[in-house]
Every structure is written in C-alpha cells, then in structure tokens.
C-alpha cells in the first residue's frame, strides 16, 4: 500500500508536471471528447500529447511495467487523472485502447497479444476503434449480423459496423462478428477479434455529425481477410468477451489506463461565460428569470454528486435499492444536455453564432458541447429506453 507521504509527493509532482507540460493553445479547435477527432491536425496534436503524457509517467501507471505501464497501484493513476482535470490538459484520446481493449487484453489476452498491443495503446502509436454497433442493431447488440467465416488461416469478414469512433485513423478494431449464424442462442454465434484495419476490404467512411464535424465512421467490410490468429478466446465466446469489455468503463480502478476522456464541461464555466452578456440593457446575471434557471441547473448537478454519495449508504436506499445506479445514465446525460442547452440559450444573440465566428462565446464551445451531448443521450441506450429500464427494473412497472 502506498503511504500518505508517497501519494502526497506524487500529487505535487504530477501537478508540477502538468503545469510545465500543458500544451499551448494550438490555434485550432480541439475535440471535447475522443468522439470528435475529425482532422489530421487534431489527430497529430492529440497523439503527441498522449505520447508525452505516457513518456512523462502519467498514463498507464497501474499497467504492468513489462508492457510499457508503470507497475504502480491504481491510486497513483487516480491522482494523475485528478491533476489532469485540475490543470485542464487535453484529453488522452486513444480511449478505446486505453479504456476497453487494453484492460481486456491485459486481463484475458495471451502473452503474445500483450507484447504486441499494449505499448502501442499507451504511446498512441496504435489507435484503436470498436466495431460493436451495426446500422440495424444499435441497442440490440446481441443480434449483430456482421459475418466472419473461417477460411484456412484467415477469417473472411462481410458486413457493416457503425459509430466507429476514429475508424478512419485506427490501426486495430475490437470487432464483434458472427461466426455461427446457426447457433441456438444468438449470443453463442458471436466471436471477438482484435482485427487489423489496414487490410483490403475494410472501408471506414466518415460520418458528418449534427455539429458539422467528423469523428465517427461507418465501417464497411467486403470480403476483408483478417488473420485467424486475431480471434480472442474461441469461436462463440464473443458475447461474453464483449460484455466483459463494457465493464472497464469505470476508470483506473476497473482497469483502464487513465487520462481524461473529455474536456471540462461544468456549470461554473457557463456562469463565467455569462458575465459579459447583456440582456435588456443590463447584465444577464442580474435577470431574475435567468438566475432562477441557473440555480435550478446548479441544484440538478449537485443532486447528482450527492446521489453518488448517498448510493453508497444502503440505509438511505431501502425503498427502491437500484434506483440511483440504474437511473445514473439518464440523469447524468440529460442533465448535461439541459445544462449545455441553457448555456446556449442564455447567450442572447451570441447563441446563434457557431464555431468559426470570432465573436462566438468561448469560440462556440457550448453550441458544440450541446450538440455533441446527444451522443450520450442516444448512445448506449437512449434516454427513452433508460426510462423504460428504470420504470420496469426499479419501480417494477409492467413492460411496455
């Protein structure tokens, strides 16, 4: 166990390093999350930053040393992450690698796989993407139809994946594909691959988002031949491995390498940005209606933080025990949506400006943040589906 002295020293050291190494404003727009990397310029910048973070000793601290990690206790990565947040440094953008594929390979991969993949994930040399969702199978992942057919030393892949974050930049994909369409249970027909992207027949086509930017691709597989050795585990284990992959989201403690997944988006900054805005000839922050709206938003955010505390106290969760954890997604993502929407709505005339207008408030940060937030109220099960889940699994209401 790390001593208090050790963690204290490490925190000070991390804080100093962030202050010294935080990159200057590059003069072009940076992504707010890893789902918004849309230009080579952004890619190069973020790649360089992640490499620096890793070589400086602040990324993958709890991963084994032999594969490029720090070999330390998770608490050190948590401290490093906290200092990154405080210093508002750029994101560690190789999130699928750092947060999903990496921990998975470390947990169940072969020594050869660890040797081959882990270091590249940390150094940002190898960008990873995820091939789970399909155009016709969003929430219903178990029904994925993309086919992988064994042919000698290869699998031949045909089908389409969608919402592939950085599909056009990735070197590898964690791919869920159907190897046995005849399996009795649909889940048992799925297999999991660490699949190379630079093979003939893999065609990632960028999707232009509601923000006007890119970041996702729709990824087409047409007789794409991938090595049979890139399967993880055995045929038919794909669903189990995919479900395990989804467990790593909870940060360093759960196995992720660390680093920020998104830039800071908080109500404090909404309010700061309103300090220069006028409404009806007076500062907007003096408008009672606006003040009331802001207070409601502060309360909503605070209620979530308090809810996280209360969720850990069983005595205060007796009537509907699963309530706070199961409603967490809908609450947090919908709060963010409303907060960002309010940030735009309160800008007055500025609210209709967008990224690119030099007069836009904070360069159009909030407009972009608001639109991008739909990826969270839609992705991973829409808020409407979440409300059904809470209604049925927490309140015990009949299925819709």
């Amino acid at each position: 166990m790390a001593t208090e002295q050790e963690t204290k020293e490490f925190r000070a050291q991390a804080a100093a390093w962030m202050a010294d190494n935080k990159p200057a404003d590059p003069g072009f727009l940076l992504p707010q999350t890893f789902m918004e990397v849309g230009s080579d310029q952004q890619l190069d910048f973020l790649r360089e930053w992640q490499h620096k973070l890793w070589s400086g000793g602040y990324l993958g601290l709890a991963w084994p040393e032999q594969y490029g990690g720090g070999g330390m206790e998770p608490v050190f990565q948590q401290i490093a992450d906290a200092e990154m947040r405080k210093a508002a440094v750029p994101i560690a953008f190789n999130v699928i690698g750092l947060g999903w594929a990496g921990p998975l390979i470390l947990d169940i991969g072969t020594a050869e796989e660890k040797e081959k993949y882990i270091k590249g994930i940390l150094s940002a040399e190898d960008i990873w993407c995820q091939g789970f969702s399909e155009p016709d199978h969003g929430s219903d992942l178990g029904n994925a139809q993309c086919r992988a057919v064994r042919d000698g030393d290869e699998y031949v892949v045909n089908g389409t994946k969608i919402w592939t974050t950085m599909g056009n930049y990735a070197r590898y994909m964690i791919l869920l594909a159907r190897t046995n369409p005849e399996a009795e249970r649909k889940y048992d027909g799925l297999s999991f691959f660490l699949s190379p992207m630079d093979v003939a027949g893999v065609d990632p086509r960028p999707i232009r988002k509601v923000t006007g930017e890119y970041g996702f691709t729709e990824t087409f597989f047409t007789d794409a031949r991938i090595p049979a050795s890139c399967i993880m585990g055995e045929e038919g284990q794909g669903w189990k491995i995919a479900m395990q992959t989804l467990q790593y989201e909870r940060g360093a403690e759960a196995g992720a390498a660390g680093g920020l997944m998104q830039v800071r988006v908080v109500i404090d900054d909404v309010i700061d940005d309103l300090r220069g805005i006028q409404r009806d000839g007076a500062p907007i922050l003096e408008d009672p209606v606006i003040r009331d709206q802001l207070v409601q938003m502060i309360m909503e955010g605070k209620a979530q933080s308090l809810g996280n505390r209360r969720a850990a106290i069983p005595a205060l969760n007796t009537d509907y025990p699963g309530s706070l954890p199961l409603s967490n997604k809908i609450r947090t993502t919908e709060y963010q949506r409303r907060m960002r929407q309010l940030a735009v709505a309160t800008q007055g005339g500025h609210g209709s400006m967008y990224v690119g207008d030099e007069k836009a408030v904070s360069g159009g940060f909030w407009q972009r943040a608001y639109f991008n937030n739909f990826s969270t109220t839609i992705g991973g099960g829409t808020s409407q589906i979440q409300a059904n889940i809470v209604g049925e699994h927490v309140l015990g209401l009949p299925k819709s």
């Binding site: 908080v266 109500i267 404090d268 309010i271 922050l285 009672p288 003040r291 009331d292 802001l294 207070v295 409601q296 502060i298 309360m299 909503e300 955010g301 605070k302 209620a303 933080s305 308090l306 809810g307 505390r309 209360r310 106290i313 005595a315 205060l316 009537d319 509907y320 309530s323 706070l324 409603s327 809908i330 609450r331 409407q384 409300a387 059904n388 809470v390 209604g391 049925e392 927490v394 309140l395 015990g396 209401l397 009949p398 299925k399 819709s400």
Partner: protein
C-alpha cells in the same frame, strides 16, 4: 465544480437505527385509515401516539444533554421527519422541535433551563413568527412596547402550527424597531386569541393568534443579540424539516402511483405499461431521489452552532427540491388515478393537499432559489 462544492453526506449507524425505529413506529401508528380518522378531529393528532413519541425520546433528540435531551443535533431528526412524512403522521413534533431550537439558540439561560427540559418531555410549543402570508418578510409588524418592566404586545400572527395545543409560544415582534422574540405562555393569551386556519391539508393544524391585550414580563424576551441569527437558523432548519417530511410524503405518493399502475387495466393492458404514465412516474422517482440526497446532505451540515453558508445552501436546496417534488408527485398521482383520482376517497388527495401545505412553509421554492442565486451567482 466549485459552486456549492461541499458534497458531504454522512449517515451514522445511530441515525440508521433512528430511521429504522421511526419508520416502523410511524407505519404502525399511522396507517392511512388512522390518518383519515383524524382528519376532522380538533387537534389532528392522537394523544397516545404523542405520548409514545415523548417516551421514545424523540422530542429531546436535538435538545442538549444538559437540558435533559440526547444532544444528537437537529440533523438527527431528519430521519424522523422523513418517516412522519411518509406515513402522514401529524403531531406537534415539528412545532415543538423548532421552538426548542429557537430557545436553544437564542433563549436566556433561565428560559433554557426552565423550558428545554419540559419540551424534551412532552410540553408543547410553537413558533409564532409570521404577520401575514409572506414567509420572506424582513421585519415583524406585530409589536411589543416596553413599559414598567412589562411588554405590551399587539398585532396578529399567522400559521401558528398546533396553536390549539401549544403550552408556550415564541412570538416574533418589533420592539423599538428591532426584530425580537418573546415567550408567551398559553395562560397569558386572551381567551379568544386563537382563530384556527381552515387548511387545505386536513392532517395539519394551525391558527391565527391575536396579540392585542397580551402583556408579558420583560424577562420573556429572548436574548436580543442572538435573536437575528437564531431566527435565521430556525427558518433554515424549519425549511429542512419540512423538506424531510415532504420527501417522505413524496415516497409514499410514488408508492401509491406505482401500486395503481401495476393493478389498473385499460384497453386490456396494465396502465403502467404505457410509457405516457411510466416515464413521468420515473421522473417522480428521480425528483424524490434528489430530494432525499439533499435532505441528508443538509442533515450532515446542520449543527448546534450558527449555520454556515454551506449549511444554508443545503437547507435551501433541500426545501426547494423536496416541495417541488411533492407537488409534482401529488399532481401526477391525482391525474394517473383517472376518475378515481378526482375523488376524496382516493389517497392521492392526501398528498396533493400536503403539497399545498408544505410549499409555503418556511418559504417556497421561488423564495429559496432567489436566495440561492444571491449565494451562488454574485
């Protein structure tokens, strides 16, 4: 987030035991049939149940040990208040507890030594602070005039909770232009001083008190230097206890909605399967969850000393959230019960009425958010 950054929420084993006991007690003593049986009664509570609460030590929970209480602090009464709200159990607990708080914070040592041990053991008290409907009024309009060691009172007080059974009142008055509080014993009131309010929430009792013709000795004055902060703290604590009571009522109201949605069929289907009803019910759950988080956060921060700014923020947020949640829950409960919901017989009426009572008590959500804006935005 830096705004309102204090997110502490601690719940001790001791509080857990209080919550368990309280919930069980209130469930046993205050079934809906018992609540309904008291609706038309004079004082709105069962004297036996009150005595049992006194014996359990609930009235002394927040009273300092030196005055015969348990000295657990007012935060310890939040689980009680939530449980009482859940079973709509009305007694003079709130009026007496809040009066004891004001005495503990601003009473003279003689007043404390005399009254606090009594209030811990069943003597009933109440606050008489409002001069009208405005919970945010900055100054008392009822007056006290000093002459020859006596204070001559005049004016009228509104919303004096449990006025009909209170043995002693703490009355807010203006004395030489300053807000002061005087202690008035029941016997010192004129015979027809009390005019009961007709309240929308039939589980509650409150009345108007006419002060004209009332004279008390000058020693009835609470400590002038402590009065302003005592009044401020008690207003916040009052808001917190109403919030806790409302959170419990919201939870019960939610159960009422859920039960109906799981049993009532229309068009051949249980109505809970319709998303038009299911999703707003989830909204009620989330609003109740937020209220519960706020009340136990506030319970963590309120102590025996003057409330600090974090505690003030917490109490105000708790009140704003909890009574809004109850209003929403009560409103939807009536609507979702359909034609049945429109009847007096349906329990939804109890909650929508409670919501109308709880809303203004110690300031409505607008009042608290307005003050929060000053605390958080300026």
């Amino acid at each position: 987030m830096n705004i309102a950054a204090n997110n502490s929420l601690v719940f001790s084993e001791e509080q857990g035991m209080i919550l368990d006991t309280a919930r069980e007690f209130c469930r046993d003593k205050s079934a809906i049939s018992a609540v309904r049986a008291l609706l038309a009664s004079d004082h709105g509570f069962d004297e036996t149940v009150w005595q049992q609460m006194v014996e359990l030590g609930w009235l002394g929970l927040a009273i300092p040990e030196e005055f015969g209480g348990s000295g657990l602090g007012i935060g310890a009464t939040v689980p009680l208040a939530e449980s009482m709200g859940r079973y709509l159990l009305s007694t003079p607990f709130f009026s007496t507890t809040l009066a004891a708080q004001l005495l503990a914070r601003a009473g003279t040592s003689q007043q404390q030594a005399h009254w606090l041990p009594l209030l811990a053991t069943g003597t009933r008290a109440s606050l008489a602070l409002l001069d009208g409907e405005d919970w945010g009024a900055p100054a008392f309009t009822a007056t006290a005039e000093a002459s020859a060691g006596q204070l001559k009172l005049s004016g009228e007080k509104w919303y004096v909770q449990d006025a009909g059974v209170a043995d002693v009142l703490l009355v807010g008055v203006s004395l030489d232009g300053e807000n002061r509080v005087v202690l008035v014993e029941k016997e010192q009131l004129t015979p027809d001083a009390l005019q009961p309010h007709t309240l929308i929430d039939e589980t509650k009792r409150a009345g108007r008190i006419c002060l004209d013709g009332v004279t008390v000795p000058a020693t009835a004055l609470l400590v002038p230097e402590s009065t302003a902060s005592g009044l401020r703290d008690v207003a916040l604590i009052g808001a917190l206890l109403v919030a806790a009571e409302s959170t419990g009522a919201t939870a019960a109201c939610l159960d009422t909605i859920v039960d109906y949605l799981k049993t009532r069929k229309q068009f051949g289907k249980l109505i809970g399967s319709y998303q038009a009803l299911k999703h707003p019910t989830v909204d009620v759950l989330c609003a109740m969850d937020d209220a519960r988080s706020f009340i136990y956060h506030a319970a963590t921060l309120v102590g025996d000393g003057a409330l600090d700014e974090d505690a003030e923020i917490a109490c105000r947020m708790a009140k704003a959230q909890a009574t809004d949640a109850l209003e929403f829950a009560g409103d939807r409960a009536v609507q979702f019960h359909g034609g049945m919901g429109f009847t007096y017989e349906c329990d939804a009426q109890l909650y929508i009425r409670r919501a109308q009572w709880a809303r203004p008590q110690f300031g409505d959500a607008y009042h608290h958010r307005k003050r929060l804006a000053g605390l958080l935005l300026d």
